[in-house]
Amino acid sequence: MNGAGPLLSTLAGIVYALILAPIVVVFALAFSADNFILFPPSGYSLRWFQALGHHGPLLASLWLSVQVASVVTLCSLLVGVPAALALAKGEFRGKDALTGFFLAPLLLPTLITGLALLLFFTPLRLTATLPGLVLGHMTVTVPFVIRMMTTALANLPHDIEAAAATLGATPWRVVRRVTLPLAAPGLIACACLSFLLSFDETVISLFISGPRASTLPVEMVRYVEGRTDPLIAALSVVLIIATLIVVVAVERLVGVARAVGK
């Protein structure tokens, strides 16, 4: 017995078709010439991509999303990586409990977090502001960074930091010369995924966005609620391609680096 066998492979093929169906359909629809969702389209054109280029609200929210995701990524790494370093390398009492404390936000659904943030931000006038959105998204990305980097740092080659110490490197020199360079691919992958998480974050954004400032997913939800035309399909194609580039980059980075590291 080797491999998966014909029956299992066929079943998996069907499931793959189901998984990929919405994405494939979105691609076909993006090039539709129709005014509404009709499948198969009666003709093909690039008109929805052109329409997208002139749609002010969507473009404005896209720009806001890029800004928010960039700041979120930077801040999450600044806050999360030192914490991951402490949790992966430190020897102190209550470490397991602290790890649980830092990862707890990953357990709560964003529906609950979003509501809690709405209640917290409203009196502070932070809703529908860049800082508010950044802080909101960080409730998702900071625990994510801590989890991913704690694992990455804990999985560094055995004894390599001890070796640096015996050679005379002070603890901070060890971090700078050995730990961080070795963790760099993981760090970059982590940054990419944090950006994606923030960029795609919808529920928390829906709670704390407003007419003054709404991110791209929020604007898309509003658009889909009101109308059903292929404009969103054209936007989706752009987003999917951008996402795929990031995913491939991460796969290459961590994958290639893993092969290189040994």
């Binding site: 299992l8 492979s9 793959y16 919405p22 102190f92 509501l115 795609d200 796969e251």
Partner: protein
Amino acid sequence: MSATRRLPWLLLPAGLFVLGIYAWPTLLLLRNAFNEVGPTGAMVEAMSLKTATETFADGFTFELTWNSLWLSATATTIALALSYPLSLFLFRTTSRWRGILAVIAILPMLISGVVRVFGWLAILGDRGLVNGLLQSLGLISAPLKLVFNWTGVTIGLAESIMPYMILALLAGFGQLDRTLEEASRSLGASPARTFLRVTLPLSLPAIVLAAGLGFVLSMSAYITPKLLGGGRVFVLATEIFEQATTNTNWPVAAVLALYTLALLLVLLALSNLLARRLRR
């Protein structure tokens, strides 16, 4: 060493963040559940169970709970039925494309939920892929109602939780040892019997954990029921959002949110307990 003992200081920024932007707002949420709503609809600071008792006395809350549980159960069942063969395939395949196949399987997780919901609208809509196909084949005369109802939400939800369940199943398959199946075959069991007597029992804990995860994710999903339900599907998640934003009725939203959270925690605890039982 003394240096590794000094490391806890590095936890300070993250600690302050989690306390300030996560723990404190969650406590505020708890506090709001004890506030009341005045006759004008304005919130009244209070420390009572009035909002909670009123909310639970309302028959609609019971209906929402039932809707949420039923929707989650059906979506999880469908997702499990599809995820299990796919995960087993990924676990077993020796193809050199295995890495890419695994990435594709969890790809929906990385693509915006709104995009995928839009894809389902195009597939299931009145003039979408399915109806267009069936009509052109002459199988139906009027389009089937596949979206803006429970059917559409169930399908969309099942698809959205699948990547998470696939990951959970793959992690749980770790204890599935290929040689055990080979041993079963060498002892005379057919592939089907081997699956029933060896593979399935050994993967049962993984199935329970994956199902628990899928159920919890379905219960707290908002985008899919909202957009694919088209305002006709009412579950706890949609009601919490409506109360919090459209109605700005925070106390009720807080009560419902805590109630949902309690349900989720009970469900998670049950599935973990069951998985641990099965593993022994």
